[in-house]
C-alpha cells in the first residue's frame, strides 16, 4: 500500500541551495519539482527532525486554532474556522517561509525509527507505522479474524481474504498454503492412527477365552460378561477353540474321596488316580509351556498359580484339585489348569494363536486382574456365594455386590479354597491347622453363612481336600508334619462383611 511506504520521503538529496536558516536547513524547491525518493528511513540530513509524543502523534486533531485552541483533523478545516475569528488578513495566510523538510521520529524508544538517522519523512506514514507496530489492533477481519491496527490495512486484507482456499480432508479450511501443508502432514498421521486397530492382545483375553469355554459349557455367562470389564477380546475364541479343552469334568479326576487326613500320598504322581484323565487334560492345552512363556496361562485356572509349575509338587496337586473342584462344571477351566507338570506347560503356552502377553515374560497387571476376575466368575458356578468375592471383583463396582456379605460365606468357592489352601500351606503348621479346623467346621455344617453352598460343594470341597491332600503330601515331603490343607473359609466367613 502506498501508505506503507513511510519511505515516501520527499526528501531529496539535492543540495541546491542550502539555506542556513534553521537547524538543518533543507531548501527544497516547491513540491512540484521532481523529487528523488530516499530510502525509507534514511532521511535527508538537512531535514528538520520532529519528535512527537505518542499522544500528539495519534491525536486526531492535529491542527489547532491559536485563538481558541480548537482542534481539527484537516488543515483546511482549521483555516475555515480561523476565518471566523476575523483575524487580520495577513495572519490568515500561512507563513510563506520556506517549507522545511520535516522528518518524524517514532516515539517508541525500542523502535528503530526512534533514531534521527532513521527517521521517517511522512507524518501519515509515521502515524501508520506507530499504529501498526506499537499500537492496538482494533480492526478485525470477519472471515479469518485477523486483526489490524490500521484501517487501510484492514480494508485491503478484507478484499483478498477468503478468495483462495485450501481444504483438508478433515474439513479444515486454510487461506495460506504453508499452514495448509503443515496441517495436512499431521492430519494424515491422525487418519492413519485411527484406522489402525490398536487393541493389543493380552493374555488375559486368552485366558478369558478358556474360561469362556467353560461358560459356554455351563451357560453361566452372566458374571463372566461382567467380569470382562468391557474388554472386547474377541480373542477369546482362539483359546476356546481347543476343543480338547473341555475334557468335561472328570469327577473322578482327583481323588474324590480322600479323607481329610489323607496323608499317605507317597508321591504326587500317584495322586492322580486317573492318570488317563490327566492325560485327557493334557490334551487340552497342548500348549507347551516353554518355561517363561508368560502367556500367563498360569492365571487361567484359579490355581494355576499353585506353585505347580515346576513339575512335581503342587502343581499336580493343584491340578487334581482344580479339576474337580468345579464339580465338573467349569471344570474345563480348571482342568485346563493343568497344573499337571506336563500339562501345565502346555497350558501355559498358548498354542492357538494366543498372543504374547503384554510385557513379554511378564503379564501386565491389568491382564492379571482380568484373569483373576475371570477365574472368579468361573468358580462362581458352583453353588453361588462362594466366589462372590472374585465375581464381584470383576464386576463394576457399582454393583455393590459386596453388600450381601456373602463373600466369604460359602466355602464353595474353589478359588477360595484353593487360595485358602495355598495360604494355609504357606502360613505354617499352626495356621494350617486353624484353617483346617475351619474347613472341617464348614464341612460339618456349622457355618452360619450360607454354608449350604459349602455343603453343597461338599463334594467339591472334598475334592479340594483331595487336592489339598496332594498339596499336603507335597508339603509333607517338604516339611514333614504339615498335613493340613486348610481352607480358610471359616475364619473368613465369620467376619460380618458389610
Amino acid at each position: 500500500m502506498a501508505a506503507s511506504s513511510s519511505s515516501s520521503a520527499f526528501l531529496s538529496l539535492r543540495d541546491e541551495n542550502e539555506q542556513q536558516q534553521q537547524i538543518p536547513p533543507p531548501s527544497a524547491p516547491p513540491p512540484t519539482n521532481k523529487r528523488r525518493r530516499n530510502q525509507a528511513g534514511n532521511p535527508n540530513p538537512d531535514a528538520e527532525v520532529i519528535a512527537l509524543s505518542p499522544k500528539t502523534l495519534m491525536a486526531t486533531n492535529r491542527f489547532v486554532c491559536e485563538v481558541c485552541n480548537k482542534g481539527f483533523q484537516r488543515e483546511q478545516n482549521l483555516q475555515l474556522h480561523r476565518r471566523g475569528h476575523n483575524l487580520p488578513w495577513k495572519l490568515r495566510q500561512k507563513s510563506t517561509k520556506e517549507v522545511k523538510r520535516k522528518v518524524y521520529l517514532c516515539p517508541e524508544p525500542s523502535c528503530v525509527h526512534h533514531d534521527p538517522s532513521r527517521a521517517l519523512g511522512d507524518l501519515t506514514g509515521i502515524k501508520k507505522h506507530y499504529s501498526r507496530k506499537h499500537g492496538e489492533k482494533k480492526y478485525k477481519c470477519e472471515k479469518c479474524s485477523k486483526k489490524y491496527a490500521v484501517n487501510s490495512d484492514w480494508k485491503a486484507h478484507s478484499k483478498t481474504c477468503g478468495t483462495r482456499e485450501y481444504r483438508c480432508d478433515c474439513g479444515t479450511l486454510f487461506s495460506r498454503r504453508d499452514s495448509f501443508i503443515t496441517h495436512r502432514a499431521f492430519c494424515d498421521a491422525l487418519a492413519q492412527e485411527s484406522a489402525r486397530n490398536l487393541n493389543p492382545p493380552s493374555i488375559g483375553s486368552h485366558l478369558l477365552g478358556l474360561s469362556q469355554q467353560d461358560k459356554m459349557n455351563q451357560g453361566a455367562l452372566s458374571s463372566h460378561d461382567i467380569l470382562r470389564l468391557g474388554r472386547p477380546s474377541p480373542r477369546y475364541e482362539t483359546l476356546v477353540s481347543p476343543g480338547g479343552f473341555s475334557p468335561s469334568p472328570r469327577p473322578s479326576f482327583v481323588h474324590p474321596n480322600h479323607d481329610h487326613d489323607h496323608q499317605n500320598q507317597p508321591s504326587h504322581n500317584s495322586m492322580f488316580p486317573n492318570k488317563s484323565s490327566l492325560q485327557g487334560l493334557m490334551h487340552l492345552p497342548q500348549l507347551h509351556m516353554n518355561n517363561t512363556s508368560p502367556t500367563s496361562s498360569t492365571g487361567l485356572f484359579n490355581l494355576s498359580f499353585f506353585p505347580g509349575n515346576t513339575n512335581n509338587n503342587a502343581t499336580s496337586t493343584m491340578e487334581g484339585g482344580l479339576h474337580h473342584s468345579t464339580a465338573g462344571e467349569d471344570s474345563t477351566l480348571f482342568s485346563s489348569g493343568n497344573l499337571m507338570s506336563i500339562a501345565i506347560p502346555s497350558l501355559y503356552s498358548t498354542s492357538h494363536g494366543m498372543q504374547s502377553p503384554s510385557g513379554g515374560a511378564q503379564m501386565s497387571a491389568t491382564a492379571l486382574l482380568q484373569k483373576a476376575a475371570q477365574m472368579g466368575s468361573n468358580t462362581s458356578n458352583n453353588g453361588g456365594a462362594s466366589s462372590s468375592l472374585l465375581k464381584s471383583f470383576g464386576k463394576s463396582p457399582d454393583h455393590h455386590s459386596f453388600g450381601d456379605g456373602s463373600i466369604y460365606n460359602g466355602g464353595g468357592n474353589h478359588m477360595q479354597e484353593l487360595m485358602n489352601s495355598i495360604a494355609a500351606a504357606g502360613v505354617g503348621p499352626g495356621a494350617a491347622s486353624m484353617f483346617e479346623q475351619a474347613e472341617y467346621r464348614g464341612f460339618h455344617g456349622g457355618n452360619s453363612n450360607g454354608l449350604s453352598s459349602l455343603e453343597q460343594a461338599g463334594r467339591l470341597t472334598r475334592d479340594f481336600l483331595g487336592v489339598g491332600e496332594i498339596v499336603r503330601s507335597v508339603r509333607e515331603q517338604q516339611q514333614s508334619g504339615m498335613d493340613h490343607l486348610g481352607k480358610q473359609t471359616q475364619p473368613f466367613g465369620e467376619g460380618s462383611f458389610h
Partner: protein, 439 residues
C-alpha cells in the same frame, strides 16, 4: 497382629496355634513353593490375597487379615514386577487402615516420622508430569480451551486451584502472546499449600511474561492443608475481567466429608440440595464450593480428574476399582521406565502410593482422594449452574500430536461428549472437561 498368642477371638478355640510363633519358618525357606511361583501365578496369587485380605479387613477380622498380609509381604516388593509393586502399595495401605483402628498406636507410630522433604516431593511430582504424558496432554487441552474461550478478551484472570506445574502456565502465556490480537493483560492466581511451589511458580512465570513483554501479575495464595477452606475474597476477582478457573485433581478433595466409619452415606441425604439425582453421597462441601465458583461467573472452567470411581461406600468397592485403575498406571510405569529406576520408584511411592493409601486406609474427612467418574462430575457441575463446553478439534489434535511424541503406544485419547478421556490401553485414566458459567 496385635493379638497375643492364640487369644484370637475370631474363630473358636481350635485355631489357635496360629500365634506368631507358629509362623516360624520350616526348616527350609518358609514358603518354598511360593518361591517357585512363576510371575503370573504369583501375580494372580497376590490379587487373591489382596482381595481376601481386604475383605477380611472390611469384616474386621484382623487376625486373618494379618495372615494374608504376611503372605503378601512375602511375595510383594516395590522393586519387583508390576503386580508385586501394586501388591506392596496396596498391602501397605491395608496395613495402614488396620493400624488406624488403634488410634493410639497409629499416632505413636507416626509421631516421629519426618515428612519427606518438600523439594523431593515437588521434584517427584514434576517427574510425574514430565515423564508420563497424562498431565501434559491434559494441560495442552486445557490451555487450548482457555485460549479459545479468551479470544478477544483484554484482561484475563486465571485461577489455578491446585497450582503445581509452572510449565503449563508458561505454555499458556506463550500461547496467549502469540494470538493475533496480541496478549491480554494476564493475572494468574495460584492456590497451593506449599510455599516453595508458589515461589517457584512466581519466578518462572514472571520471567516468562517479562521476556514476552506481557503485562502480568501473579497472585499466590497459600492455604493450609488442614483447613482447606478457600477464601474467595482472597481471589480478588474483579468485575469486567474474563475469569478462567482451572482445577487439576482438586475438585474431588471437596467430596471429603464426614461419613460413617464404614463409609456409609452422610446423614442428610435429602438435605435440600438440588442435585439429588446423583447416586453418590450428598456432599455439601463440594456443592457450596461449586456454587461459590459459579458466583464468580467464570468464562471457562477446566476440570481434570481421575476417571474412576474411588468413592464407593465400601472398602471392597474402592479396592476393586482402584486395583484396576492403579494396575493400569503401574503398567504404564512399567512400559515407560526400567525397573531399577529410582525415579520410577519414587513416583510410584509418592504419587501413586499416597493416593492408594488415602483411598484404602482413610475414611471420613481424611479420605480426600475421592475420585469419581466424569459422568458424576458432569451431573454435579450442571447442577451447580455450569454448561459443558465441548473441547475443540484443535485441542484434540494437539493432544494427539503430543502423544505421538511418546514412544510408547499404549496411550489412547478419546472424545466423550465433548470431553476428553486419556486412557492407558483400554482403561480410562484421566478426564478433561471444560465448563462455563450459565444463566
Amino acid at each position: 497382629m496385635f493379638q497375643e498368642d492364640g487369644s484370637s477371638s475370631v474363630t473358636s478355640s481350635p485355631l489357635q496355634n496360629f500365634p506368631m510363633t507358629s509362623l516360624s519358618p520350616a526348616p527350609t525357606a518358609p514358603h518354598p513353593w511360593l518361591k517357585e511361583l512363576k510371575p503370573e501365578e504369583r501375580g494372580l496369587y497376590l490379587i487373591h490375597l489382596l482381595l481376601n485380605c481386604s475383605s477380611l479387613v472390611a469384616a474386621g477380622n484382623l487376625e486373618s487379615a494379618n495372615i494374608a498380609l504376611d503372605q503378601i509381604s512375602g511375595l510383594a516388593s516395590p522393586q519387583g514386577d508390576t503386580m508385586q509393586r501394586i501388591a506392596a502399595y496396596f498391602s501397605e495401605a491395608l496395613a495402614d487402615r488396620i493400624l488406624r483402628s488403634w488410634p493410639g498406636v497409629y499416632k505413636a507410630f507416626n509421631s516421629t516420622r519426618v515428612p519427606a522433604a518438600a523439594a523431593e516431593e515437588i521434584a517427584t511430582r514434576r517427574m510425574f508430569f514430565e515423564l508420563l504424558p497424562f498431565m501434559k496432554v491434559a494441560s495442552v487441552i486445557s490451555n487450548q480451551a482457555i485460549v479459545e474461550a479468551m479470544e478477544g478478551e483484554k484482561v484475563v484472570h486465571l485461577i489455578d486451584l491446585n497450582a503445581a506445574e509452572p510449565v503449563q502456565w508458561r505454555a499458556l502465556i506463550q500461547d496467549l502472546s502469540a494470538r493475533p490480537e496480541g496478549p491480554p493483560h494476564l493475572r494468574i492466581t495460584a492456590v497451593h499449600h506449599r510455599r516453595e511451589v508458589l515461589d517457584q511458580m512466581a519466578h518462572a512465570l514472571s520471567d516468562t511474561a517479562e521476556n514476552l513483554d506481557i503485562p502480568f501479575q501473579f497472585n499466590p495464595i497459600l492455604i493450609d492443608m488442614k483447613v482447606e477452606k478457600l477464601d474467595f475474597e482472597k481471589l480478588r476477582v474483579k468485575t469486567g475481567e474474563a475469569l478462567a478457573v482451572i482445577s487439576v485433581m482438586h475438585l474431588h478433595t471437596h467430596l471429603a466429608c464426614e461419613d460413617d466409619p464404614r463409609g456409609g452415606r452422610s446423614s442428610s441425604n435429602d438435605s435440600g440440595s438440588s442435585s439429588s439425582p446423583l447416586s453418590s453421597p450428598q456432599s455439601p462441601g463440594v456443592e457450596s464450593f461449586l456454587n461459590a465458583i459459579w458466583g464468580l461467573s467464570p468464562k471457562i472452567m477446566v476440570v481434570t480428574e481421575h476417571e474412576s470411581d474411588h468413592n464407593g461406600r465400601h472398602l471392597m468397592e474402592r479396592l476393586s476399582e482402584s486395583l484396576h485403575f492403579y494396575a493400569a498406571l503401574f503398567d504404564c510405569m512399567e512400559s515407560t521406565l526400567p525397573r531399577a529406576s529410582l525415579e520410577r520408584q519414587r513416583m510410584e511411592k509418592m504419587v501413586l502410593g499416597e493416593e492408594i493409601k488415602n483411598i484404602i486406609a482413610c475414611e471420613g474427612t481424611e479420605r480426600r482422594e475421592r475420585h469419581e467418574k466424569l459422568e458424576k462430575w458432569s451431573q454435579r457441575l450442571e447442577g451447580a449452574g455450569f454448561a459443558g463446553v465441548p473441547l475443540s478439534y484443535y485441542a484434540m489434535l494437539q493432544a494427539k500430536r503430543l502423544l505421538q511424541g511418546y514412544k510408547c503406544d499404549g496411550y489412547k485419547i478419546r472424545d466423550e461428549n465433548g470431553s476428553v478421556v486419556i486412557c492407558w490401553q483400554d482403561r480410562p485414566i484421566y478426564s478433561v472437561s471444560a465448563w462455563r458459567f450459565r444463566r
